[in-house]
Symmetry: C2
Subunit: 221 residues, 2 copies
């Protein structure tokens, strides 16, 4: 008899993620699970998104890292509620880790909860946390072959943000190839081309996220 | 009673890695386990290293990827023996996966075996494969905070190759900070600063690897 440990783990995680989701619906909290390779620009995108939407929505952040509090410290400087999850050895955040952060958050007063995952293109895609949307960042120096090499990440995400477009003149990155390959894996993928450094393209992303939160709040009154 | 599944897995892996090591010593094969984030430049470094050392040593490559054969195809174009390991969902290569590649390799005729791991800064650092040396690449667009965020990778590796130094004028990367933080974690870490694109700094790396292979062959006659 083959005991499929991985599948059992994922089934258990799905149940916990659903319980998280039920709680988020009670508190009307829109949740984004943000994923990418290390150094693709997750924390900078979170900072810019907070700046853009903080006047309209109450925002909180869960920062996932193997170790360290670098990213949580950056968010705390913006005077935004932030909970650090240090996963120890684990290369991803799962539903129960997010659940453990709840006592440190005031979800009743949170419109948008951003969960910044551990930097990793593989396992984070497998573990739901109860989010409304999975968003992934592909940064141009990583190369355009990432959709074909890490397909689950592109399949599970609703949004791909192509970041660091300001570096395109200096790196080998075929943006049309990246778009095409990602859309073959997930034809409904919403794609934004941005530079978190120069802020180019970010307003489209802010508008889209604003619309999503608005629709969610409306449908969940 | 707490059953520590992860520890059991790692203990079992250590045993398999040691068996691999015994075989490599019999065939006098020097083995390098190459790790980094996705898109940091592993395959390009492998290509350049093959070009530099192929006249002196018989080289073979094991390519680890979740899916796809992009990287193995690149190596095969150099007319070098290459085995593709597709890990399925797994975010790292372990000892048994490397062991499974043996029937496809002629180790008796291999001086240098390069194992290119899955792009991931977390789990690959935990799993030995029977290598002589663990080498990790940090690329400048990822940022200088990676040693403090993924310390095990920098602790386990004997070598850190800082790649894409040609991009330093265009990215926020404090190379002295990266060096300093990595050396705090691992004071014996050997550091090379290179650009696989322009080939800057690569000759030092080739010379170091050449010396290591030479010493290994000498001490294992």
């Amino acid at each position: 008899m083959k005991i499929d440990v991985v599948k059992h783990v994922l089934d258990a995680n799905d149940r916990i993620a659903m319980e998280n989701r039920n709680l988020f619906d009670k508190t009307r909290t829109y949740v984004m699970n943000l994923m990418s390779s290390p150094g693709a620009g997750k924390t900078t995108l979170v900072e810019k998104t907070i700046e853009a939407l903080r006047d309209k929505y109450a925002i909180a952040v869960i920062e996932g890292d193997v170790q360290s509090t670098c990213d949580a410290d950056r968010i705390a400087r913006l005077d935004i509620p932030v909970v650090q999850i240090n996963t120890g050895g684990a290369c991803h955040i799962d539903g129960s880790m997010v659940c453990e952060a709840f006592p440190s958050l005031d979800l009743e007063k949170t419109d948008l909860l951003i969960v910044e995952n551990v930097g990793n293109l593989v396992c984070p895609a497998e573990f739901k946390v109860g989010e409304n949307v999975k968003v992934m960042i592909l940064s141009t120096p990583e190369g355009a072959d990432k959709p074909s090499k890490y397909p689950l990440m592109f399949q599970e995400s609703a949004v791909m943000i192509i970041n660091k477009v300001d570096l395109i003149p200096h790196v080998d990155f075929d943006i049309e190839q990246a778009r095409k390959d990602a859309l073959v894996i997930n034809k409904d993928l919403k794609i934004f081309e941005v530079s978190c450094k120069t802020s180019s393209g970010l307003s489209n992303w802010f508008q889209w996220l604003d619309d999503q939160i608005g629709s969610y709040k409306k449908s969940n009154q």
